[in-house]
Amino acid sequence: MSNNLKASNFLHGELEHLDVEPVNSKENRALYEARKKIHPKRVKGTFRKFKWLVMLITLGIYYLTPWLRWNRGEFAPDQAVLVDLANRRFYFFFIEVWPQEFFYIAGLLIMAGIGLFLVTSTVGRAWCGYTCPQTVWVDLYLVVERFFEGDRNQRIKLDDAPLSLSKIAKRGMKHTVWLFIGLATGGAWIFYFADAPTLFFEVITGQAHYVAYATLGILTATTYIFGGLMREQVCTYMCPWPRIQGAMLDEHSLIVTYNDWRGEGRSRHRKKMLSQGETVGDCVDCNACVAVCPMGIDIRDGEQLECITCALCIDACNNVMDKLGLERGLISYSTLNDYNQNMMLSGSAIIEKEGDKVWDKSKINPKNIRSQAGRLVDNIKHTRFSSFMRPRTFIYGFVYLAIGFSMLTILVLRDRLDVRAQNDRNPLFVKLSNGAIRNGYELKISNMKTEPRRFHVAIEDLGMASVKLAGETSNRGRSFFVNVNANEAKTFNFFITKHRDLIFDEKRDFTLVVSEVGGKEHAFEKAQFHAPKESVLEK
């Protein structure tokens, strides 16, 4: 344990060599073993900056969205994004989705799937490294940890230190803030399901529904446990994503790569060796890449399941390269294709080792990739955006956009009026005292607009017939008016009566035309008029 936790740093020039063991690398990881704690070191650089930005945006979206308002008039809630489970409505800015329109959600999930293919096949596990909630919250929790307990070395020391008042204070504050973040996370989640300001007031005054508190409690606990305590184990052992994404990567996808072809052979005494005329690679074995890794791996072992491609090792290594005056990119985003070509260039060859085909790294000769002047040779392959330009990318992109556009088209053109009519079946028809035949119907009108509307219901293609609503005592020609409240599906029962001399079929199809009064929308619904056999045969 103490071997990899204790830091005995030594200086080599101005460069710090870190005594750190990649606890999750293949040879260090036994089955049946307690987890070894990882203490990721702080790093500065381009990718770290980008990750801060992504964190700011994603957390901002998550925490603030429920508080956005969107005016829908007096008959609908004014929360921009609201999953109204009680009333079975989903509001998203100008979009309102009813339960029967759930296929939009299915469409979005399909788009998310295709989007994942697209992203993974081009930029690799970018989802894992930048936007996955687990990554973002672990990052946030690390900020807190670093604030109270200091960076890597101080944290290791604190872990080893005996229990003291200051240790208890530091730990206590850290866990308090973690729990508070968890609480805020769970809190933000429940606000998506109810009016945020109202619910917030209810929650803090103890009046909210117990489901709200239960959800809050569960999400606080999961956030705290996943983000604070379990961290990389969630990605490695619990999450199916890495496996799925691993299957979608190909030789053109970006992966965080340690470029052996310029790094090997490693030497901690590069300057000395060089001055002695030895040939050494660029890697000075400073372990900076290992120390910053939140997953506890050594990227120099090659592509690994654990790697979430957060690119922090790239930043760490670039900083070292800058100090050494060497080109950046010893660790870089690269495709397997480019890597293989460069390996070839370096003089390495593929050999068989324990049944696997691997590059023989002992054959790498730094002279092959560096000119006499010490610059990298020109025919080294650098990964360019052009490597994204392949059929796979375009097919995914096309499918993604096609689904998106068709959904948007359907969404824009969709009806906000839905009509269903059903014949009464018991009795199917009623004979009246004058011999006329009457049929009963159940008419369901869904007014999916957020304002009350009045509809005109007319019967077409049934010839002479008269109609009345249930509860009415006299017929009223061939049409009637009904009012439906905003956002309501309302059911009406009505009757159609036909004179005995006008019945020619046992079953006659006709059309109900429901049209909006003072508006353009209308809907057609097929229905049948049934009559007894003897009424028909009378003619």
Binding site: P427, V430, K431, L432, S433
Partner: protein, 293 residues
Amino acid sequence: MSEKEIDEVTGVATTGHEWDGIKELDNPMPRWWLYTFYATIIFGIGYLIYYPAVPLTENATPGLSGQTNRGDLKIELAKVKEGKAAIEEKIATLDFFDIRKDENLMRYSVAGGQSLYKVFCTQCHGTGAQGAPGFPNLNDDDWIWGGDIESIYTTIKHGVRNDEDDETRFSEMPNFGSGILGNADIEAVTHYVASLSNSDHEVKLAQNGQEIFIENCAACHGDDGLGGRDLGAPNLADSLWLYGGSLPEISSQIAQPKHGVMPAWGERLGEAKIKQLSLYIHGLGGGERDLED
């Protein structure tokens, strides 16, 4: 096997069990598993004490809480009843016109009336209220005792030919077959009655029957056979027949009339439920006279 055998590869003791040369290692349970297991034991003890748990011959140990599913149901039903009480009170006191003006109350009444109908009325009138020979169809517009809401209400409340209710609907057609009319006269009247609704009949016989009808039947059914609701005399000139419209059926009803009986529901169901039922029946399509009139 007093000494524990230690497995060479793992350094873990074996349990001493062996199957076909394969030995079982005595690894301890994972800690989290063990603690969860202990927690369930503690929970189980608590459960045993708090809830009814141990089955005895007639019941189970009651537990500290005294909770039972039956008791829970009782409480829930009482709550529902309490919630309904206010609404039903309102229905009982308001008149039909006011109930209908209140859209929610009207919906509640019709829905409640429908479920009451399913429980109390379907046995005779059928699930779709379409009736059967001898049991009136409630969907159509042929009413013996009146089809406006008040009449329907009265019929349901007091029943028809009910011995136990003084205000019951009552009418009785004489037994023309036992001495009042001869067989030939009955046949003639039968054909005349059939002619009123233009059913199959012999014109000559019908002509003979007209006079007999006016003498014996018109007092209740009217000269033109349109019936009279005050007397509960059916309309004989329409195309609907309670006991069938064929000649033998008409003849049998003249000679030996059947008289249907309906229970008086007033005391059994109470004011509110009778009103709900009335509104439901009235809305089946045959209801007469607007409530606003």
